[in-house]
Amino acid sequence: MTEILRTGASGRTSFASLTGSGQLVLGVLLVALCLGISAAAPQFYSEANIIAILRQCALVLIVASGMTMLIIAAEVDLSVGASLAFVGCVGMAVLNATDSLALGLVSALAFAGAVGLVNGIVVTLLRVNSLIGTIGTMMMLQGGVYLFTREAVQNHHQLASFTALGAGYWGPLPIPVIFAVAIFALCAVTLRFTTIGRYLYAVGANERAVRLSGIRSARLKLAAFVVTGLCVGVAGLILASLMNAGQPTAGRGFELTVIAAVILGGTSLTGGSGSLFGTLLGVLVLKVIDNGIIILGWNQDLQMVVPGIIIILASYFDLLRSRHHA
């Protein structure tokens, strides 16, 4: 057992230098992007734009925090975009029926957590590959949301507290950013300072060895799926608040943005390595590019092209660095 932990921890330590330098490159890239865009368009560093970027980062970071834990455990969840849309519709419908923000939140979290649980069961109990299993869930959710509602669930309750969830401020900070920071911190502490966090790295690095040492790896993975689901629950309700409706068409491609941010941040798709700080940088880089293209007035098709190029380059340089250190 101790051996396993040592393996996980040492694996993490040896990767730390790599991911650490990767994060340095990402940090430099982020600063360069900010400076470059600001030089070309000074509006970039206006307070309004910084708030707009932070708000957009918040939704991705909330889900990416859970996804990082999942990918570190060598699994992935492609259903988060479809779940995001469904959660918004469920949450809004419950809010309309009850006029209670608490019940809306609970229902959204319960639904999203249940989706995570189903994903976890499919992967750990039925032993379906998570890539395939969560594509199945994604399809079920995309179809299911239209069985639930044929059109956007409108805001009939008009609760001010619900509007504040997406568009409100706490001091100078948008409330979605507060949520994102809290969830990010919780996940970061769990990964870095708790036994569960260390087990997740170990499961991702060598699941068989972890199982042989008596740790129930399936339960850990199940927990990671549920946590990712719960993160989607929070993000889905915030998105519904921002859009003032539960939109069944929302969240298209959201899963790709989230996974791209996690991978860009240095987390390995094969599991066992990665960090939430890297994910944070990945989210910031992607969203700054997104925002910068609009601020600079460039063709918006580049919003898909540029991050794609950056992800390939980042993965390639990471590979080169790994070979160099090997």
């Binding site: 309004a48 707009a52 044929r150 921002l242 409706a245 069944p248 918006q300």
Partner: protein, 341 residues
């Protein structure tokens, strides 16, 4: 005795009229839509079924779900079943051309909805440019009255599709008939989705918030733009939001609850479905039909949505008398062909 005679004569007249009508009606129509989950198509289908029921026609619907192979397969099934008329909303232009040939060989007339295809007999569609144009004219009048004659527009558009490009172009041309100095401050690609529209609008407003009109190529785009405006903490006092489509409940909710959402370029999808059935009956009877049958659109200003729809809190119902009274133009002011010039 006289009363009985009159009743008998009236009954006979009704029976004769009904049987004459039934003789000229197709029994079964097959419709392959391209994306049935979208609110627009749900309401097109609703309008089709309502009118078909009045005429005693059975309508069977299949969804291609944006997959041309699925559309071809569903249409071939209808042809094999021997439907009297086939209605298609093409997923793409090229993919449907062979289907038209196969239907012609099987002597099944075809009506297209939404998008034109080479070799078609007739198409039922709205005029996208005109829809934007007349909404633009109304927006210009509103700006003259309420916005001190200033019109600075953020267009939450969708450059991918010629139909939506035409709407945006029509809107700007329309508004300039009232306010020649109207400017297009932001021309955005909102992807037609509410969350994407929100995201790009938030960035654009952070760059330059000196706008007073938000135009969306559909309701989701307009609402995404408006939500970005609200999230930036801005007041709706000197803002006008104009949506397009009116395909669901969103625009009714917005007009009722958002002070700036005052104009909707309504496209009446139910009426498009209604008109498509009329066209199907005509082609079934071999009557001459124009290549493009225009389905009417109209700008709705504020509470006047109640002229065209009733709403019971959960579902909306179209008021057929009001919508059927709208006179569509014989031809569109501009079409996608004009964009290529």
């Amino acid at each position: 005795m006289a009363l009985i005679t009159k009743l008998l004569m009236a009954s006979a007249a009704i029976i004769i009229a009904t049987s004459a009508q039934a003789a000229n009606m197709p029994k079964k129509i097959g419709y392959v839509t391209n994306y049935a989950t979208h609110e627009w198509y749900q309401n097109v289908i609703k309008g089709m079924k309502a009118h078909a029921k009045e005429l005693g026609i059975e309508v069977e619907v299949q969804d291609a779900n944006l997959d041309i192979a699925k559309q071809v397969s569903a249409a071939e099934d209808f042809i094999a079943k021997g439907v009297d008329v086939l209605i298609l909303t093409p997923v793409n232009e090229e993919g449907v051309v062979p289907l038209l040939r196969r239907a012609k060989a099987a002597k099944i007339p075809v009506v297209l909805e939404g998008n034109p295809v080479k070799g078609m007999t007739t198409l039922v569609a709205i005029c996208d440019y005109d829809t934007g144009y007349f909404a633009g004219v109304e927006a210009g009048k509103y700006a003259k009255q309420k916005l001190a004659g200033v019109a600075k527009v953020m267009n939450v558009g969708l450059p991918l599709l010629s139909a939506t490009v035409l709407r945006s172009k029509g809107f700007m041309d329309g508004i300039r008939t009232e306010i020649p100095s109207a400017t297009l401050v932001h021309d955005l690609d909102g992807g037609g989705n509410p969350d994407r529209a929100l995201e790009v609008s938030a960035a654009a407003l952070a760059k330059n918030a000196d706008i007073n009109i938000i135009y969306g190529i559909n309701d989701s785009s307009a609402l995404g733009g408006l939500q970005a405006w609200k999230a930036a903490g801005k007041s709706q006092d000197n803002l006008l939001t104009v949506g397009t489509g009116g395909e669901g409940l969103a625009f009714i909710n917005a007009i009722e609850k958002e002070p700036s959402y005052r104009i909707e370029a309504a496209m009446f999808p139910e009426k498009e479905g209604f008109t498509t059935i009329d066209a199907a009956v005509k082609v079934f009877n071999g009557e001459p039909v124009p290549e493009h049958i225009v389905s009417p659109t109209a700008p709705i200003i504020g509470d006047s949505w109640k002229t065209y729809y009733s709403y019971d809190g959960t579902t909306r119902s179209i008021k057929w008398d009001a919508v059927n009274a709208l006179k569509p133009p014989a031809k569109c002011m501009e079409t996608s062909a004009d964009l290529k010039k």
